[in-house]
Assembly symmetry: C2
Homo-oligomer: 313 residues x 2
């Protein structure tokens, strides 16, 4: 029995608030499940800043139709989470220009697909023909309460956000080239030999007994890695590259974990890799996964490497 349903329309204010609270709570749970440090009530302000690229407290107040102190509080929360940055206007020293921080942009891109899922789930239970606001509200609240809404989202997350690892197929060959060249170009320079190997993965990696894996999410390829056969049971982990669009999703770590699992399953003796000390983040990850630094041989095949690591099983 839910008296608010029988109170007639006077209780509408309370009903609206109750449904709002419930929706916010469920959304918060979803962020938490996805390990995303974000609050649903920050969405309007955060999204506004992202869409306007550069804005001010007052402008947010105007477009969101909330009070100015509410905006200030939202901004403080976003600052705390390091998602935005402030800069005082050169001319008008009262004004503070608000922009997304690097982390904010990353989070924004990371959140986008989840928001699409949330958006579709809300639509699923709110877009239908009804004869009154109360009727719409009753139905939506019911779906929030009985778990249908949550279930719909979780299913979508599973099919759309889950990242799976797939083996080399001819149709994916170009990603191997594109991701690696893009990465090489930004950190080093691309040699002709690189282009040759990357454009013919079948010939240079697969046929000599190696493997190429791809991280795939919802029919999109996010990143790739190769295991190049050195000798029986010894493979070089190489050509790891992640699409810049999908940085921040820990795609590299997922590929790394898969390679290690694959090596163990196939009773490999060891894996090794070449890297460069200026790629501190990458080396940190390699260490995290158990790779240990060893001497680089004099006749190292890579000019751009100054460090060699191995993982012995």
């Amino acid at each position: 029995m839910d008296i608010l349903h029988t109170l007639g329309e006077i209780g509408l204010g309370s009903r609206l608030k109750r449904v709002s609270d419930l929706l916010m709570k469920i959304t918060q749970q979803i962020y938490t499940n996805q390990n995303i440090d974000f609050d649903p009530y920050l969405f309007p302000a955060f999204n506004t800043i992202a869409k306007l690229e550069k804005t001010t407290n007052t402008e947010i107040r105007e477009v969101l139709h909330i009070t100015q102190p509410a905006v200030t509080q939202n901004i403080n929360k976003l600052l705390q989470k390091e998602l935005i940055e402030l800069q005082v206007d050169d001319i008008d020293k009262r004004k503070k220009w608000i922009t997304l921080s690097k982390k904010g942009e990353k989070t924004f891109n990371q959140l986008q697909p989840l928001w699409n899922i949330l958006d579709r789930a809300v639509k699923k239970y709110t877009v239908f023909s009804a004869e009154s606001l109360i009727e719409h509200l009753n139905y939506f609240e019911e779906q929030l309460k009985n778990g249908n809404y949550m279930e719909t989202i979780q299913e979508q997350i599973k099919t759309e956000l889950a990242i799976s690892i797939v083996s080399f197929e001819e149709q994916y060959a170009s990603y191997f080239y594109d991701f690696n060249v893009e990465w090489l170009e930004s950190f080093f320079y691309v040699e002709d030999y690189d282009r040759e190997v990357l454009s013919k993965p079948q010939q240079y990696i697969i046929e000599p007994g190696g493997h190429i894996f791809y991280a795939k999410q919802n029919n999109e390829i996010l990143g790739t890695v190769a295991l190049l056969k050195n000798k029986e049971g010894v493979f070089e982990l190489t050509k790891m590259a992640v699409s810049p669009k999908h940085q921040g999703k820990k795609v590299g770590q997922l590929l790394m974990q898969y390679c290690i699992d694959f090596a163990k399953e196939n009773s490999f003796e060891k894996l090794f890799l070449y890297s460069h000390t200026k790629l501190a983040n990458a080396i940190y990850i390699y260490r995290k996964y158990g790779f240990i630094e060893i001497d680089v041989e004099a006749d190292s095949p890579y000019e751009r490497s100054d460090i060699k690591m191995e993982l012995v099983f």
Copy 2:
């Protein structure tokens, strides 16, 4: 520009809360305008207590689907306003039975017609065919913001709640009898002469040059009063009675004010009245309107009076 409208469905939680806040604020304003000491957010709890007649904290929590501390807080607010009373259960000493207080019942009855108006106004802007919750919400919020909702309510209040004073008409004669007899019966006893005068107001009041006024609200008569001619420019204010159904609306004071205004307009010399000291409230009101106590003559026409008051202009 209202970005929340363009945020898609993710902003729905914020939208719902914003509309709730606005609706609550407007409703609060209406209570304030009507001089009613009540808060819209107390409506669910208050209404539940009234409907169930006797209930407990836990039961309210169950039927309203809010948390128990929220109920406790609602109860405390209602206690503060003296609208409810608590009584510990005889057997289970943890339980507190909640009932409306006398004032609570009065307020509940007083609020009923206003709630009807609010209910109809909400329905007016929320009951229509729409293809989504957002569509319903957009329209309703728009009506709240542009003032249409408020205007609708104010118009209805004017036509339904405004109390006007009308002069004697034959069709109202029975009210004069009914209200007065009901009142006399509860405080004194009804003499045969009372019944004679009250049943023939035309003959006993109007024809000798007196007046009878009625308080009328939305085609309903709430109360009555008579000015009985004593001599030229001197009238006895008598037979004031208000329907028990409409106590608490200050109908008596409205009638009193009308009589005084009427007396001034017609250049009366003075008004006087007979009452009884046990009717302390009534006498307080008479004093408030300027009546001053004078000696009761030996041959007072009323057995049930022990006080006489007059207002000289």
